[in-house]
Symmetry: C2
Subunit: 266 residues, 2 copies
């Protein structure tokens, strides 16, 4: 039976609201996700929240009912609440019908099976949570084996990243590693590392991109450092016909990922 | 000679800060852009600000000096200020060295020369300013003739859209039209309309995409309405191998745009 919380001053609401802050996420090992669509993706991927906040007026929605039932069956707590509290939790003026609080999960490099997928995405020092979430969403779409976050990337469990991922955070394995760890792991098995560069004439549609291909995306402002570019087995460039010399990081990653997918599907 | 403003209460600062709000942009016909990189893109595209705010400590930077000199020569006003006021204007904690205030500019459909480019981007009811700016950035990169915003799209002159465009707002023509106007204009000359759809088996790499191709991107949450899909000459789908059935709108637009570019460059 779901308990009801309608007071802003409720200690659990205060604690969960703090999860929008990275420091509190680290301390609690929990993060927030919102919206029926994303929480349903999570449920279908076998991920259930520790706390499920749902709006009273959405309680009869079949997807809400399924979330409540399965959350409680798995030992989590379902909490009936109102739009104001959902708004406070999610930070959105128009919150979805549900907010879930989940334990954080990442995988170790050693847990990744590189033979399980033809494409792997790798991002180094990514700064923008929207880009990170969007890259996860693309990873899901191209069937990537996972996303490997190298060095100091923005937190994949931030509200903005979770939102932009549209649920892919729950379905795509995410690993975090220092560059040296990643490089050593990469070189311990088959696979080529592919990077975008301005300093090459190698057109991105030319290579074959055999599986597994690891696509490295550099920092939004600076691109990848020289020593990472030097480690790449293949450097390619995309046509840039306008005034600018770069694309948005999530866009460049997606165009490359679909090129690799097309090559591997031929 | 640049005047100096260091008081938050200065009426011009207050007025310009209000430009972060859409209603004020409409009333004034002005918008904000920030950062040396974006303002320099604008300058190189022949667009100079009506007001240029620059940090005292960046006054000696060659790009700042060029902006100040050309702004004043063109009849605009250069205003020396501090980081606090730049932060107030841009809404960013770490503002760039410059903020420019520009007159809004869009073009009419009738001013677009469809023979001037092989690719044109069209977006309908786009909601996210970051997506709009990112699509402009992609439009620049693929050499698109322009971006046509159909029906009620988010404002391309919002601070977020300008920022995400990385200057492309100043180099890529932007037109706004109702769907019926756009359709009539489109059918008054050569060109095919291409849309993404879930209801087709036509792989996006199959068609030839002759110039000019108009790529239609639908609303982020709902995709394009049935009557727009029915108007498309070509409907294609992209492989979606994961749990989700759609990509981020800016990502999907970019993957399609690069596919069209590749076909047209063969």
């Amino acid at each position: 039976m779901a308990r009801e919380i309608t007071a802003f001053s409720n200690p659990l609401v205060k604690r969960m609201r703090n999860l929008r802050d990275k420091r509190h996420r680290r301390e609690e090992g929990l993060f927030l996700a919102e919206g029926l669509r994303i929480l349903t993706e999570a449920r279908e991927a076998g991920k259930l929240p520790q706390y499920l906040f749902f709006a009273k007026d959405s309680a009869s929605h079949p997807l809400t009912r399924a979330l409540v039932a399965e959350t409680e069956a798995a030992g989590g707590e379902a909490i009936e609440t109102n739009a104001d509290i959902l708004s406070k939790l999610s930070g959105k003026d128009n919150p979805g019908a549900v907010v879930g609080v989940y334990p954080e999960f990442t995988v170790d490099l050693s847990d990744l099976n590189r033979d399980s997928a033809g494409i792997w995405l790798v991002a180094e020092r990514l700064r923008d949570p929207g880009n990170l979430g969007t890259i996860l969403r693309t990873a899901d779409a191209v069937g990537a084996g996972g996303l490997i976050l190298v060095d100091d990337c923005v937190d994949p469990f931030s509200v903005e990243a979770v939102r932009a991922s549209m649920g892919a955070l729950f379905t795509v394995p995410v690993a975090r590693a220092r560059w040296e760890e990643f490089r050593d792991w990469l070189r311990s098995g088959p696979g080529q590392l592919v990077g975008l560069s301005l300093d090459t004439d190698h057109h991105y549609r030319a290579p074959d991109y055999p599986a597994p291909t690891f696509l490295l995306t550099g920092n939004e402002a600076q691109g990848m450092p020289e020593h990472m570019a030097a480690e790449c087995d293949v450097l390619v460039k995309m046509p840039m016909l306008g005034k600018a010399d770069s694309l948005n990081a999530a866009v460049a990653t997606a165009v490359m990922a679909y090129q690799v997918l097309d090559r591997q599907q031929r």
